[in-house]
Amino acid sequence: MAPASKTKIALVGNPNSGKSSLFNQLTGLNQKVGNFPGVTVDKKSGFTTLADGTVVEIVDLPGIYSIYPRSLDERIVSEILLDHRSAELPDKIVVVADATNLKRSLLLLTQIVDMGLPVMLVLNMMDLVAKAGISYDFTALSKRLGVPVVAVNARKGEGIKELKEQFSKPLAVSQQPCFTIWEEAKAPVKALRDALGVDNDYEAYLYLEQPDSLKFLPADSKSKVDHIRTGHKFFPGKFQGAETIQRYSYIQDLLNDITLRASDHSWKKYSNQLDRILTHKVWGYLIFLGLLMLIFQAIFAWATVPMDFIDALFADVSQWVGAALPAGPATSLLAEGIIPGLGGIVIFVPQIAILFAFISILEESGYMARVVFLMDKIMRRFGLNGKSVVPLISGVACAIPAIMATRTIDNWKERTITIMITPLISCSARLPIFTIIIALIVPNETALGFFNLQGLALMGLYLLGFVMAIASAWIMNLIIRVRERSYLVMEMPTYRVPKWSNVGYTILEKTKAFVLEAGKVIMAISIVLWVLASYGPGDITARAQESVQQESANLRLTEEGLQDRVAARKLEYSYAGIIGKAIEPAIRPLGYDWKIGIALITSFAAREVFVGTMATIYSIGSAGDEDETTIKTRMREEVNPETGGARFTPAVGFSLLLFYTFAMQCMSTIAVVYRETKGWKWPLLQFAYMTALAYISAFIVYQVMR
């Protein structure tokens, strides 16, 4: 059976309703993240096998409170459910309800019932409801709503079998309308149904209410809708509040009839006591700070073990391929372009995995909402949102997943500012550059007894990036003038022990997204850079060999030394070298020569390429990229022909450090910002302001220290 003909079942529900747990229970490792056509919202889908052997597709839609969207992610749900002719329209819809808050979930359920879609209700977390002393009459609930009701415990996997049985049965559309459309709206609804042949009244009503969710309509139908809307003086949002009240009064009546015992709320006490500590004015911040330090420690210390291993592995493979295959451009492209390019992506996997392990644990446990709660007022001063904290923390590992994490911020301005400043947070790709240059210019000494100067310098750079990010946010907050209200209104979920399999799925999903998203760009740029660095006008290999042989005829170099010199000379003659020389006048005021210029260009794919390029330029390629001492020694010995002194003076070193702290030296980030903001405006502005910041600060520090 072709995948397209499989039954498609969509999971919808409130945030924190356990929808993801249920999705993971149903699909296991059999899931993937894709995109909905035309939009950047992640589409999580997977497959599950029913008792009779049929395979059905499960789609996990973003969490929503009602069919009226309030953010980018939420809009996709109403778009999919309104477009009854689309291939994305699910055959069956499952509303996942947090049974401890059934009332709120029923709002969404009644809306979907009224849209005339086949739907069933899953009551999750019934164990917690039972603990609170409540029970529901499922039969009555199912009868009143006209939809099947299944109780599950998604965390423990209870009720999954019954749910799958329900999936096998045909699902009829409920014939029990929950909502009566207003008298004033009846005429436009009828006009719309006549004009467009929309299936039912509520669906037509939503066409009138949500003009922004109708992207799927052809232009002429859309103008018909607009025409009917203006003709009947119907403006979107007019009846939304009244609709909510009407639905809740219906739901309250329903709940009064089906609730068998009342609640005493005693099980919530635990959560409240934890909040007393975790949102305490002293302990709250101290605990958050401690957690941050733990995350940084994990990213920078623990992750180095697997990272070193990956680094060495790719170096070995590259060397082995270079030696085993016959020499030629294809081998060179593979050994020097593609394999190191792949390595440059895979090396970040440990840090990304660790970072998302932490973030997912914090989110699963309910703590993240408290972090937002603690930080909102501080962040708001800078035009950010409490929810900006997660992207800013993630930025320490890599800006790419960090920028993808900004989608939870509903407010456009706050989200844009968060995206714009996140790359200023020093990511892990800057670390190799920082380490090597700091080692070159800062003495490895202790000050005041226990502060290592090199460590202090490194910490200073991270702080500098953070301070500059906050300062930039503050300035952008003044510049970007948008009269869009910013909201926080956010559920504070009950504290829970994280479900470890959910943490595992999140790690897998995020790592995969990173490898694929960033990977594509890094890979492409790596190949382009390989071409630029390997080819030049004419036969540069011959020219390099000739010139090296001429000048070192009486130097009695070893074969290896000779090869390294040829490689360095070849790079000088290549297109990369030519570009490096061309930009020399522009970077001279920062204290750089054309050799550093080449490294600036090549490190555009990924900042850490700087170190590898330095190794090649200074003709120590064969010593291996990972041999830091060799590069350091060689860089220290490099002479500035103009002054006769060292090339890497403290002035040049600090200038480089500042440049890399602020510069947007990352193609993948530009690509992801383009994707997330749907245009070139913001990535270009971001590139411009960060480059300006980098150039000016590097210029000042070089000119002052020189």
Binding site: R104, T244, I245, Y248, T279, F373, L374
Partner: protein, 76 residues
């Protein structure tokens, strides 16, 4: 009290009943989340810097900014 009070003016631990909203746009969001006229609301605690605040409504905890809380009128 004859004065109309709002959630932002409540003290920690205080309980009231939602009587209405002063902001149409925000009221729609709040009502969708179960914060309806007639619902009991309890002010739990505020963030260390006084804003945002955490309230209990409709059987769960909700956090919102003071300016948002100020749009919810209460009776008590």
């Amino acid at each position: 009290m004859g004065l109309v009070r709002n959630v932002a003016q409540m003290k920690p631990g205080e309980v009231g009943v939602v009587s209405g909203f002063t902001d149409d746009h925000l009221s729609v969001k709040l009502m969708e989340m179960g914060c309806l006229p007639g619902a009991p609301v309890r002010f739990n605690f505020s963030a260390p810097l006084g804003d945002p605040i955490c309230i209990s409504v409709a059987g769960y905890e909700l956090s919102l900014r003071l300016e948002e809380a100020a749009t919810i009128s209460i009776l008590n």
